[in-house]
């Protein structure tokens, strides 16, 4: 690589990274992406405390389902969803995972709750925002919910 090409390539990397910062800021504001990750240089701006729970129901009664009740593949998908949702926020949708878990469990309903703790910039208070998603087996897309023959 000659000096001129090197100059152009390195300058391009720096320019693209500099332009990424406002995009990252937009993703943090719009989708609750993790400010500490993603090369946006927004670490030490706001805590990003993330937690999520999965609750399963059968005929309206909560049932105890342990992670051991799922296949290893499904467990990996849960962990993957947890990591991606924590860092990429609402850009990552839970539907596919939820119907997969409903398919593998004896439950007919699942509630996914996500808690995100961070500072309210207006009040300076630490607040936990909760978001819940309810999934019914009956609403599952046929390709996912249909039992294998």
């Amino acid at each position: 690589m000659n000096n001129r090409t090197l100059h152009i390539v390195l300058a391009s990397i720096a320019i693209i990274w500099a332009l990424w910062l406002p995009v990252h800021r937009f993703l943090v504001v719009k989708y609750d992406a993790n400010p500490w990750k993603g090369a946006g240089m927004a670490m030490y701006t706001n805590p990003h405390s993330f937690d999520m729970n999965l609750d399963f129901y059968l005929d309206g009664i909560q049932i105890d389902i342990q992670s051991g009740d799922f296949t290893n593949s499904a467990k990996r998908d849960v962990n993957k969803f947890r990591v991606f949702r924590k860092h990429m926020g609402s850009m990552i949708k839970p539907d596919k995972l939820a119907y997969r878990l409903l398919e593998e469990s004896r439950a007919d309903m699942m509630i996914l709750s996500i808690q995100l703790g961070r500072l309210n910039t207006g009040t300076g208070k630490f607040e936990i925002e909760r978001e819940t998603f309810t999934f019914h087996e009956s609403n599952a897309p046929k390709s996912v919910a249909a039992p294998e023959q």
Binding site: Y44, M88, F126
Partner: protein, 280 residues
């Protein structure tokens, strides 16, 4: 005279030293992580690139550095894929630097090439420093001191740091309820906290101009030492400090190389012999 005993040009010497410390940084970081996670493969990787780094002091051709940096870059790319999107921001600095080094080594090294690479490293520093300063203001948690007050509440290292300036204020925040707003009342602590992003932006801006570049590097190094004293991200602190020293005149930069070798040996020693001292 054989090729490996031919003396290095000045540009080669400066760039080779930069690359050698970069390899040492990755080697020490992977060794520490390997130790923490009991991951033998990370320690083997660390050993292999350390051998490459040491060898490059004797065999004065870029082939050894190209081979070692290829391994380093491949490992960083593998890490990017396997740990995405949880990679730290600091990881990207290492990745972008390593890839650039491979590109620099792909052609004959002269003063012009060294200058292009040095400017690139300067831009990476500016993006990190000024970028994080701007992000802090945009986030809206510094003008009201909410973030730092929250850190004093939740992180003992930050509590101990602010305790040195105002014990009563640090104690008040540590004991407050999470329902109350987080903010410093002490005017000095407020000014100190609000000015953190300003200093980061200032250091970045000073680096941009040839006349103020050395001053920018010194302000940046001082800021970083202050931040890492509290945050204890010593691995990032060491390499970022080194990158800023690369902006100093060559003769000063070359004299500082032994210091950075000692710093990395100390960090390895701390991990091995003082496990209670936790740092990133």
């Amino acid at each position: 005279m054989s090729e490996h005993s031919s003396p290095l040009t000045h540009a080669e010497l400066v760039l080779f030293r930069f690359i050698q410390i970069m390899i040492l940084h990755v080697a020490v970081r992977e060794f520490i992580r390997g130790l923490d996670n009991r991951a033998v493969y990370m320690m083997v990787f660390s050993g292999v690139i350390t051998v490459g780094m040491i060898l490059s002091f004797w065999v004065k051709t870029k082939q050894v550095l190209i081979a070692t940096m290829s391994i380093v870059s491949a490992m960083l790319l593998f890490k990017l894929i396997t740990t995405f999107p949880g990679n730290s921001n600091h990881f990207y600095v290492e990745l972008f630097t390593s890839l650039a080094i491979l590109m620099v080594l792909s052609g004959p090294i002269d003063e012009k090439r060294k200058s292009i690479f040095r400017d690139y490293i300067m831009w990476l520093i500016v993006i990190v420093l000024a970028g994080s300063g701007i992000q802090k203001y945009l986030a809206g948690t510094y003008h009201n001191t909410a973030f730092m007050a929250y850190k004093v509440f939740s992180d003992p290292d930050f509590h101990d740091f602010y305790y040195m300036f105002d014990p009563a204020e640090a104690r008040r925040i540590a004991l407050q309820s999470t329902d109350e707003p987080f903010a410093f009342q002490n005017p000095f602590l407020r000014i100190m906290t609000i000015s953190i992003p300003a200093v980061e932006i200032l250091a970045g801006l000073l680096l941009l101009f040839n006349r103020t570049r050395v001053l920018g590097a010194l302000v940046g190094i001082a800021t970083l030492i202050g931040i890492e004293y509290v945050a204890k991200e010593l691995m990032f602190g060491a390499i970022f400090c080194f990158m800023m020293c690369f902006q100093l005149p060559d003769r000063i930069f070359l004299r500082l190389i032994p210091l950075f070798i000692v710093i990395y040996i100390l960090l390895t020693g701390l991990t091995l012999f003082v496990p209670s001292f936790i740092f990133n």
